[in-house]
């Protein structure tokens, strides 16, 4: 784990991790975020929706991705980091997801050396739940 620009190169893979998205985790996230939408919490309600069961908050999946970025770039992610993602598929409670990332370009800007990373979060069947790009200063 490092944020030094000299140690980074295009093609570097970020250290992803897996997370079991249990209903307990979703319930606690609801307390943290204040988002008590019943589609995340109430199985009877969720059964009436297009998903037919409870789904995790999209922002929970994104939070996992940002945990990876914060671990990889502890000095700079929270100071100038940017991301743009789309939510491609719902994560159902009980699923295991895996975050991933890779540096796809490094460029010099007025702000310094910037790495652009492809980032995301995949479900166990390989489907992207979250996918997009992040940029972070390397120095």
């Amino acid at each position: 784990m490092s944020s030094g620009s000299t140690q980074r190169a295009v093609g570097d893979v970020l250290a992803g991790f897996e997370r079991h998205v249990t209903q307990d985790r979703v319930n606690v996230y609801a307390e943290a975020s204040g988002d008590h939408n019943p589609i995340h919490l109430d199985e009877a309600y969720a059964a009436t929706t297009q998903f037919e069961t409870r789904i995790a908050h999209g922002m929970l999946s994104l939070a996992l991705v940002t945990e990876m970025l914060a671990s990889e770039f502890p000095e700079s992610w929270h100071k100038g980091g940017k991301l743009k993602v789309r939510f491609s598929a719902p994560v159902f409670t009980g699923e295991i997801v895996a975050t991933y990332g890779e540096i796809i370009s490094i460029s010099e800007t007025d702000e310094g050396t910037v790495a652009t990373c492809s980032i995301g979060c995949k479900k166990s069947d390989g489907t992207d739940a979250v996918s997009g790009r992040a940029t972070v200063l390397l120095e």
């Binding site: 250290a15 991790f17 985790r25 606690v28 975020s33 939408n37 999209g58 939070a63 940002t66």
Partner: protein, 138 residues
């Protein structure tokens, strides 16, 4: 039933300001929900995405998306952040409806949000795109 704001709001509509100060108990809940052995040590600071999530929650309420019959899909998210935020530090969020269109009976809306500290300095921005379906939304 009153039409939800998503049905009537025009581009440029402003939301907030919202106080999205995150107290310690919510920060602890966030760490429990999201964290793991590989997570960074935040100390007395917050993951910025938590502030964004808190703002998004109140925005969704203001847009009337908890109204019966509506189903909301969070389609996209952008975030940029300038500095770390401390637990309990006052942060204010102001949103603006950047787009709101109807296609095939679904609303596609984007709300951009600016986050400022107690000195009025912008410390982050976000942009959220949502798709809303349901009879009441059209």
């Amino acid at each position: 039933m009153t039409a939800p704001l998503i049905s009537t709001a025009v581009i440029g509509h402003e939301f907030g300001p919202y106080d999205v100060t995150i107290p310690a108990d919510r920060a602890i809940a966030y760490a429990e929900a999201v964290g793991g052995s590989e997570s960074p040590a935040y100390g007395d600071t917050l993951a910025p995405i938590m502030v964004v999530a808190a703002a998004l929650t109140v925005l969704i309420e203001d847009l009337g998306l908890y109204s019966g019959g509506l189903q909301t899909i969070h389609a996209g998210q952008e975030v940029s952040w300038a500095r770390q935020v401390r637990i309990g530090e006052r942060v204010e969020a102001v949103g603006r409806l950047a787009s709101n269109s109807v296609r095939r009976g679904n609303h596609f809306a984007t709300v951009v949000v600016s986050y400022t500290d107690s000195n009025g300095v912008e410390i982050g921005t976000s942009s959220t795109t949502i798709i809303v379906s349901g009879e009441a939304s059209s």
